[in-house]
């Protein structure tokens, strides 16, 4: 028996239609990442890991001041792969004419747009972030917010942005009358709990959390959150190309049996159901 085939096949055996909410293409300024190209993601990684499609951002743009060229690069690079790779361009709401950038994203069929408040210095309650959140809600586009790219302990000395705080997340989720649907990427247990339990049930229902950074056994933070906030608030996320894409699969596979029975793969959120929720909200008023 080939031990490699055994492990890989076991992981790939559970394949269902799901959309990854958090991949990027392009390089990372502080270290080398293998295969930052769209071809590898579309043709090898997503099918292998049981994803039918992914929301894809352009990683270098997160560190640019003006996202225009980054978005242009993203649209161009994804053009041959649109069936699987759905563009998630950057909209920087404190940059002039951001409304046009959002309109372009909508025209391009983007299911979500990316924001990087830590990199832009947008703190809790920043009015620009609030404006964008409201506009996304009205347009039925999901707002995707990245808390961190790397663990704090390994960051480059020039990478001083820090992590996005729970106060920023609560500020976006609490906007009165907002229909903004928010995906939070890269959060750990504490940040998720400080956000989720600081929201009303209505507000909670518009926020999803990438679960790929949570800890499984023996700490079992993931199992705890599956029991407390529910699998429907936790979204499949590959974090490609920065992190190993198998992490969400491993976390679910290692859930205690009772939790696994209550939370099959399909109980967790994915890009398809979140995008539909955002679109549905625009029809509900």
């Amino acid at each position: 028996m080939n031990p490699i085939a055994t492990v890989a096949d076991a992981a790939a055996a559970v394949v269902t239609a799901r959309v990854d909410v958090g991949a990027w293409i392009g390089g990372y300024p502080f270290r080398d990442v293998p295969h930052p190209d769209p071809e590898t993601l579309a043709e090898r990684v997503l099918p292998r890991e049981g994803y039918t499609a992914a929301w894809v951002g352009h990683l270098p743009g997160a560190f640019h001041r003006d996202p225009s060229s980054s978005n242009a690069t993203l649209y161009r690079a994804l053009a041959p792969h649109r069936e699987r790779l759905h563009p998630a361009p950057i909209v920087r709401p404190d940059w002039p004419r951001w409304e046009a950038t959002l309109a372009e994203a909508i025209a391009e069929g983007a299911p979500s747009v990316r924001v990087y408040p830590a990199q832009w210095g947008l703190g809790p309650g920043h009015p620009a972030l609030a404006e964008l959140a409201r506009a996304c809600g009205e347009a039925g586009v999901v707002l995707h917010l990245t808390v961190r790219f790397e663990d704090l302990r390994q960051r480059h000395p020039l990478d001083r942005a820090g992590d996005v705080s729970a106060a920023v997340l609560r500020g976006v989720a609490r906007l009165p009358g907002s229909r903004c649907h928010l995906v939070v990427a890269g959060a750990g247990r504490e940040l998720i709990e400080e956000t989720h339990w600081g929201l009303t049930p209505l507000e909670q229902g518009r926020v999803w959390y990438d679960f790929s950074w949570l800890w499984g056994p023996p700490e079992d933070h993931f199992a705890h959150l599956v029991r407390t906030i529910g699998p429907e608030r936790l979204a499949w996320n590959s974090f490609w190309p920065l992190r190993l894409v198998q992490q969400c699969r491993s976390l679910i596979d290692l859930l205690p049996e009772a939790d696994r029975a209550r939370a099959p793969d399909t109980a967790f959120a994915d890009g398809a159901c979140i995008a539909e929720a955002a679109r549905s909200a625009t029809r509900s008023h």
Binding site: V7, G216, Q246, Q247
Partner: protein
């Protein structure tokens, strides 16, 4: 190199439900594990221990090589455990190992600031079945206080699992963390001792660690830690090679499973993967340490298995 398929081991999974382990059927040794004792800072310590053993069963871990770091901060700091706390923790750890047989093996954890106590704990641990020494972060790895411990490790034929911060650019709270360069200096002073550099994914910049230890064949590294950066495993394999890497989980068994699943996509050969899963552990720990776990009836000192020091 001999293929793993020709080695003698029990290939049956250790899952009670008969299903193939999530991490594959081939033997798997976790070279960096922890448990809690009743003298700890958390009320759910038994749940924690049960969770590790349960997840290990599902992944296919044949042996958890584990330590308890004092009281985990309850009555003395985790990385600066008092002698009384550490003795109590080691007592519990060797008891747990005795209770679970081949499934759990013990490190004797010591604080080098109390050198005489540390040496006594190592001697006592060896007599009670401990198969390695665990050093946390009570002193830097190259501190002279660690010299006698490194000598004792060579005397007993036990490796030292050294807690390491990958590229320590400044002091971090609650520990005197060491990095690859610190450990390399100690390894140079003690060529007969095998050092297991802890958790390349456990915080800091692993890219600094690999070249820092490259020239010291008596340093091997474990893959554990919550970090699952893409490129980390590839870089480790390319820099130091599979013969100096050991699979392990430390505090996050989920990332351990993820790394197992990712290894086959790094270009590692089946033989490389066997080395990381179990064969390197068999090589660096005392002879016969995993015979029970591997289903072997004879001592595991295959002629091809020589220590990194001898190589």
């Amino acid at each position: 190199m001999e293929s793993s398929s020709t080695t003698r081991h029990d290939s049956s999974a250790n899952r009670a439900d008969g299903m193939e382990p999530l991490g594959g059927a081939e033997p798997l040794i976790d070279a960096h594990a922890h448990f809690h004792s009743p003298f700890t800072n958390r009320a759910d310590w038994e749940t924690y221990n049960a969770s590790r053993l349960g997840a290990g069963r599902r992944i296919g871990v044949r042996s958890h090589v584990a330590s308890i770091l004092g009281s985990w901060g309850y009555t003395s700091p985790t990385y600066f455990a008092s002698p009384a706390d550490q003795t109590r923790a080691n007592d519990f750890m060797v008891g747990l190992a005795a209770q679970h047989g081949p499934l759990v093996r013990a490190y004797a954890a010591v604080n080098p600031n109390f050198t005489a106590h540390a040496l006594k704990e190592i001697e006592r641990g060896a007599a009670l079945g401990a198969i390695g020494i665990k050093l946390a972060a009570g002193r830097r790895a190259d501190d002279v206080l660690v010299d006698e411990i490194a000598s004792a490790a060579a005397q007993y034929g036990m490796p030292i699992l050294q807690h390491v911060w990958q590229h320590r650019r400044h002091d971090w709270p609650n520990q005197d963390a060491s990095d690859g360069l610190d450990l390399a200096r100690m390894a140079a002073r003690h060529p007969r001792t095998t050092f297991l550099l802890a958790h390349i994914g456990g915080g800091g910049d692993y890219a600094h660690t690999f070249p820092a230890v490259l020239d010291h064949a008596n340093i091997v590294m474990d893959l554990s830690g919550s970090g699952v950066d893409r490129g980390m495993l590839d870089l480790a394999l390319a820099t130091v090679g599979a013969e100096r890497l050991l699979w392990a989980s430390d505090l996050t068994m989920c990332t351990g499973l993820t790394k197992l699943r990712a290894l086959s996509h790094t270009g590692a050969t089946p033989d490389d993967i066997s080395a990381m899963r179990w064969r390197n552990a068999v090589r660096i720990f005392p002879k016969g340490a995993f015979d029970g776990a591997l289903g072997r009836s004879a001592p595991s000192g295959d002629s091809r298995i020589t220590s990194a020091v001898q190589a």
